[in-house]
């Protein structure tokens, strides 16, 4: 009898242990967003929306490899197992789809599902055409000129010209279950129970309050079955409130802790996780203005030599790192620019003197800044610091303070348009650098507003020629060497004041385990568990 009881207890203990190893608990996350991102497979709220209600739930043909903390995140296979450029016509890409994948509602993933999803964004007369999200898709992926099903497991996507980096862009288009749309009949209804194919599924959605993601036990990639049972995300835009929520135990993880709180959080035993990622916090200068001082490259170099980046990083308690270009010095794409913008006010003043400026005739510039906004870090104290810092080199800086929406409107229009409010630069952090596609999008001569994102109106024929060669490239080594050269031009003839890169900070309790901070705007939550 005693033996029986002992065996029974031992079995129960083993089962309990096995259960606890599998069940990874519930992770409660405070996001910086003002609302729960939309759940139709094309989330709003920028990078944060994609981080929490995008990639964990929905998948693309090509995915981001978010498993490494030591290098810039690269692409890996997603809903497509492999892809190649058509050897006879390099404007065409062939994607070989993964077999055995099911959406959360049991619908099979295949070429029909892929084409149905592309029609959602690119075919205006399709019943599932989704105008607001189609506009976002076209902006993120402007190179889809056509597509067709080759067989049940193969599709072809055509580009308007050969684009070597198209697989990077293919990451933006997320796929959802066509069956669920047929059942619900509209995207508004679809959003209430939206099946993707990712490692998590959305099981509860409360507008402005929270969204709950539950583990998808039937996920196709058995090596990436999530350890967590659930993730609950809360929109808490106010930094102090996020901090209180963490410190009072209401959440386990907060995005972007306020820099001032870092020492006290560490002292209280919380983890501050940071890492490099492709973020830039520059001043983007207006070269379109006839009398702009920036038209003289010596002035643009001078301001870059005058920025005291280390002091600014100290002001932010280490939650940023100095920026010397779009890419970081540690990135393979950085290259070897001639201008190394270390803090050198004497050199800055000498350059300004050559350009005809002096203490009696300072460079006057008005910068458009926001009070807050996506990726804008702490715009007011950071810009006030720069205003004081730049004064020592004869820059007389003033600000046009606007809300985030007004800045977006200004960026959509040419700098000379009334929406630009006559400013000489914009402090905007939208410029991400995760791959060459973004680098090209922001800086090609052809992409000046209203057509594209080249707000400064920076035009460099050598840069354009290099991007053209990169787009046609088939040699990986030449591809990297050309990106380095393009970046060297970008640094030596700077259309930006390079200031800092954000460090992607998040604070969490010691109970959160298994998180790897990828060098990306997005993160992988499958290895995370609660101890």
């Amino acid at each position: 009898m005693l033996l029986k009881q002992t065996l029974g207890l031992a079995t129960a203990a083993v089962l309990a242990l096995a259960g606890s190893a599998w069940a990874g608990g519930t992770l409660r996350v405070a996001m910086t967003a003002s609302d729960v991102p939309t759940t139709t497979g094309s989330p709003d709220n920028g990078g944060e929306g994609l981080r929490f209600l995008g990639f964990p739930v929905f998948e693309s043909l090509v995915a981001w490899d978010l498993t490494r903390a030591d290098k810039l995140a690269d692409i890996r296979s997603g809903l497509a197992e492999s892809w190649e450029q058509d050897k006879t016509d390099r404007t065409k890409w062939i994607f070989h789809l993964r077999k055995g994948v099911k959406f959360h509602d049991g619908t099979d993933w295949n070429a029909d599902a892929a084409i149905w999803n592309l029609d959602r964004y690119f075919k205006q007369d399709a019943p599932q055409f989704d105008p607001p999200n189609a506009a976002v898709a076209v902006a993120r992926d402007p190179y889809v000129a056509g597509y067709r099903k080759i067989d049940d497991w193969t599709i072809e996507i055509a580009n308007p010209r050969p684009i070597s980096y198209f697989p990077n862009i293919a990451t933006w288009i997320l796929h959802v279950s066509p069956t669920q749309f047929a059942k619900t009949g509209s995207w508004a209804e679809f959003a209430k129970a939206p099946p993707g194919s990712g490692p998590f599924k959305i099981t509860e959605f409360k507008p402005r309050v929270s969204a709950t993601l539950s583990r998808n036990d039937g996920y196709w990639d058995k090596t990436r079955i999530a350890k967590l049972d659930k993730i609950v995300v809360f929109p808490i835009p106010e930094p102090t409130t996020r901090l209180s929520a963490l410190r009072s135990g209401q959440v386990d993880w907060i995005e972007v802790p306020p820099p001032d709180a870092v020492p006290s959080l560490k002292a209280a035993g919380f983890e501050i996780v940071t890492n490099s990622y492709p973020h830039s916090w520059p001043w983007v200068v207006n070269l379109a203005k006839e009398d702009s001082p920036w038209r003289d490259v010596r002035v643009r170099r001078a301001i870059n030599y005058c920025v005291n980046r280390d002091r600014l990083v100290a002001l932010l308690n280490g939650l940023a790192e100095p920026a010397y270009g779009l890419f970081k010095r540690s990135d393979v794409f950085f290259g070897h620019p001639k201008q190394e913008y270390k803090y050198d006010p004497a050199k800055a003043k000498a350059l300004l003197k050559e350009a005809g400026y002096s203490p009696d005739k300072p460079v006057k510039a008005k910068i458009m800044i926001t009070t807050s906004g996506s990726g804008q870090m702490l715009p007011l104290p950071m810009n006030e610091f720069l205003q004081q810092n730049l004064k020592e080199c004869n820059f007389d800086i003033s600000f046009e303070v606007v809300d985030w929406g007004t800045m977006l409107v200004a960026m959509r229009n040419p700098p000379s348009a009334p929406q630009g409010l006559g400013v000489d630069a914009i402090n905007n952090s939208l410029h991400i650098s995760m791959d060459i596609s973004q680098f090209a999008l922001f800086n090609l001569s052809a992409n000046v507003p209203p057509k594209g994102r080249n707000w400064p109106n920076w035009k460099n024929p050598q840069y354009d020629a290099l991007i053209d060669r990169i787009e046609k490239s088939t040699d990986p080594e030449q591809y990297i060497a050309d990106i380095q050269k393009a970046h060297e031009i970008f640094v030596d003839d700077p259309p930006w004041v390079f200031i800092v890169h954000d460090r992607n900070a998040r604070a969490m309790t010691k109970h959160v385990k298994g998180f790897v901070s990828a060098q990306s705007w997005f993160q992988d939550f499958t290895p995370v568990y609660m101890e």
């Binding site: 607001p132 508004a188 106010e238 410190r247 209203p450």
Partner: protein, 313 residues
């Protein structure tokens, strides 16, 4: 009395029409529109324009206004440009969340304000008067978002006895666990009404106490509580008017308090709609809040008229 009520209701119609026109005009004064925020800047112009056409933003403002007014008259508040959800759902959910805070905050603030104000007046010049007046002035003077942060620091972070933020669920609280979320925001929100009402009641009671009829009441041998009744009845109309205004402000939702406590109420909804240029949500929210404000004031006027017959003239 009925004629008075009907007259007051008729006055409300042009007020609300004026508010709706003003709201619509002001929203369109801001540069850009919802499409600028909804899609990235590099979206081709023709796609951005087709979205504008879909939202009817390509039409003249007055046409948009009358179309909106027409839909409003049949009870259609529209669809949010940004979230694609019905405005009515978003608005009434936010309003009920705000009501959950505003009702107890008003009850607490008004009752404390009346009691403290009356006690201060009846004990004029004593330490009680000084203590209650200091409390009232503190309530009015301290920025309530700051008080909220301090309360969170003490009760949530240090003592860890009350939640720091959120509603702990959605809808009306059905458990103590959920009701605990109300305590800190309600106390914070009640401070200003408490202070304002207390100051007014004290001043009114003191003024009424100086009237000759109070001396007459005492001379006729009325008990103190009967005299108190007459004094408070005379002080009530102006206090009621102020309570009406304060309750209207509370229903409008305090953006700051909602932000500190991450409470998904009407103030936050309005703030979000402003930053998103979400015209259907913003115009409906402001109009509904204005209507509530007007209705509350009519109710207060009617109450005043019931208490004081002179008001009906």
């Amino acid at each position: 009395m009925w004629a008075y009520i009907v007259r007051r209701l008729l006055y409300a119609v042009p007020i609300l029409l004026g508010v709706s026109m003003l709201v619509f005009a002001l929203i369109h004064l801001a540069p850009g529109d919802v499409v600028d925020l909804l899609v990235p800047p590099e979206v081709p112009k023709e796609i951005a324009d087709s979205l504008r056409a879909r939202f009817a933003l390509d039409q003249a403002v007055y046409i948009q206004y009358f179309a909106w007014l027409g839909r409003l008259l049949v009870g259609d508040l529209g669809i949010s440009f940004f979230t694609n959800r019905p405005v009515a759902d978003e608005l009434f959910s936010a309003l009920s969340n705000t009501l959950m805070l505003a009702l107890p905050a008003a009850l607490l603030g008004f009752s404390l304000g009346v009691v403290l104000g009356a006690l201060a007046a009846f004990n004029r010049g004593t330490w009680l008067d000084k203590a209650f007046s200091a409390t009232a002035i503190t309530g009015v003077s301290l920025p309530h978002y700051w008080v909220g942060i301090v309360l969170v620091a003490i009760f949530s972070v240090i003592l860890n006895v009350l939640p720091a933020q959120g509603m702990g669920g959605s809808g009306f609280p059905t458990s103590w666990e959920q009701a605990r979320h109300l305590i800190l925001p309600v106390v914070t929100l009640s401070l200003i009404p408490m202070g304002v009402i207390s100051r007014l009641v004290r001043a009114n009671v003191l003024e009424i106490l100086s009237h000759e009829f109070v001396g007459t009441l005492h001379a006729k041998g009325l008990l103190s509580r009967r005299v108190l009744y007459h004094v408070m009845k005379n002080a009530a109309p102006s206090a009621l008017a102020l309570m009406g205004l304060q309750f209207g402000y509370l229903l409008g939702g305090s953006i700051l308090v909602e932000t500190v406590f991450n409470w998904p109420g009407s103030g936050g909804l309005m703030n979000l709609a402003i930053f998103r240029r979400d015209v259907p949500v913003l115009s409906a929210t402001i109009l509904v809040l204005a209507t509530i404000f007007v209705v509350i004031n009519i109710l207060v006027d009617v109450l005043q008229a019931l208490i004081d017959a002179r008001m009906r003239r």
